[in-house]
Amino acid sequence: MSFAFNPVRRLAVCAAVAAGLVTGTAQAAEMTGAGATFPYPVYAKWAEAYKAQTGVSLNYQSIGSGGGIKQIEAKTVDFGASDMPLEAADLDKNGLVQWPMIMGGVVPVVNVPGVAAGQMKLTGKVLADIYLGKITSWNDPAIAKINPDLKLPNQPIAVVHRSDGSGTTFLFTSFLAAVSPDWKSKVGVNTAVEWPAGIGGKGNEGVANFAGQTAGSIGYVEYAYALQNKLAFTQLTNHDGAYVKPDSASFQAAAANADWKGTPGFHVVLVDQPGKTSWPITGASFILMHKSQAKPENAQNVLKFFSWAYANGGKMAEGLDYVPMPGPVVKLVEGVWSQDIKSADGKAVWPAK
């Protein structure tokens, strides 16, 4: 047997190569995250631009908010992402810190012959009654009364909702519960609920599809999907009783008027916010990280990325129809980073040197 094939030696070479690979990836620095699907397109876009600038790459698995929460609790990823904020008590229990990263709006869309985008007006109460199955026809007096200019057909309403658990549903049901006591007591608020009426579509695209092709339907989707699929979104009344149209400005107005500072864990659900121009169903997508970091340099890398995204990612987010966080909120968030995220020996991880 020739020496070159000595198995022990071969093993040693393999081990050396493997070790080289491992240290190699550590130097190239990869951040890992998992969770919400809703912000995935913008996180991916940020990651691509950030990698081009710094060489640090992000491995984000959009497995859903529920999965993201589980993964960060199990510490298999550097950060988790969730569309539904965790309660302060849950955060404390798992030693997690949470902050809002990006915002979006949820809009009702209708498919009624002769009604274009932005033409139909709905109040929260009417919307809730439609989803409760109490209003079943488009020419119902309750709808006709607030839409005197529209010719509404005598057509059954096809209610479309999400069939999967979703942050979009969480925001939508939060709004309905805020404006309708009936909804609050009969159905409640969650990422998935027991729908009293209607058909379920999987994902925003599923709902957009049903709403797009079923005459007489009403659904709710992320704003971006309404635009891309050219669906007829409606106006809604907000907390101040004014009718508003959904757009970037009205989403940002909702975020600006919210009380971020006084809410522990940034647990702010931006529905039914005060302000004359606030869109009533706005929401943020959240990032979760552990307060105590065994590998502080990893955490620093991740925070650098998020800080960069706050500072430079606004345009990219708007290009994808998301809404960047307002400046004052970003200041608050970075303050929380330096206060709460620490290495194992108690040193603050942020600001990074």
Partner: protein, 344 residues
Amino acid sequence: MAGEVRPNPPAEGRGGDIFPAAVLSVPDAIPESPEAVHTGLAERGFALVCRSAAFAVAGLLLAVFAVLAINAAPTLHAFGFGFLTTEVWNPVTERFGALAPICGTLVTSAIAMLIGLPLALGAALFLNEYCPHRLRGPVIVAIELLAAVPSIIYGMWGLLVLAPFLSAHFQPFMTAWVGPIPILGTLFQGPPFGIGMLAAGLILGFMVLPFIASVSCQVLATVDPVLREAAYGVGATTWEVCRNVLLPFSRTGLLGAAMLGLGRALGETMAVTFVIGNSHRISASLFAPGTTISASLANEFTEAVGDTYLSSLQALGLVLFLITFIVLAAARLLMRHVERRAAH
């Protein structure tokens, strides 16, 4: 899940003369040679590999069952037998019952078989008895290609083509003409949205059709040509040959083909999710939205938060596992019964 457990090859039991005796006869003595020891080793090794493969399959099945049972235990403990008999599915209050998905699974599969089985059988008989020889090959290839279409394509077709068609033409027609008939009419009530139990059943019917047709075709082809020719020889018409020779002589295999199709219909996920409407409710009308077990799992698993919710979804999986198992076991029993009766 069901597709893995294939029924017996169709010809078994009555195919004694398919293999010429010469093939089955064993050489009298294995020639002595220096490799004999080697052959023995290889022989034993081969047997071992085969045996472990068989045990691995059985082990895998048991492992899947065990994991499902363990994860479903909290739900079954909390809701007991009521899990199977309640319709409520409320993630907010964490009350879960499997009745709506179970009903949806059974009803859509029944519609699928109602549509798929006659079509498949007709196609198989046509290919074996009526079809010009030159056409047979291309049609069989077409059927097999149909079986190879991914289920998501069926789903998209169902959503974008079938559902709008049902909504615009079929449903208003049925509601107007069959709707007023008592009892039968209740099946065709409600606003015509296209998607619903009927659309899901139809799509499933189209999906199981090529499977049943392809296997049935092979089964019919194994009927001894002597029998067919004898029947034709005594003056039987094609219909009489089909009815009195082909079908009775291949019923075990045909039953197997049907079960294969049913297995697929019970477990199909993606296409159903597209067109069934995904609503945890039971309705008398076929136009109403519903859900099946596998569609519920596909919809809700990723974002299910909370132990009870997750456990309930796994309990649903367990129920599907048991339904499939019962259906296959029943099919086996039925086949044995048919065989025994035929033997007398």
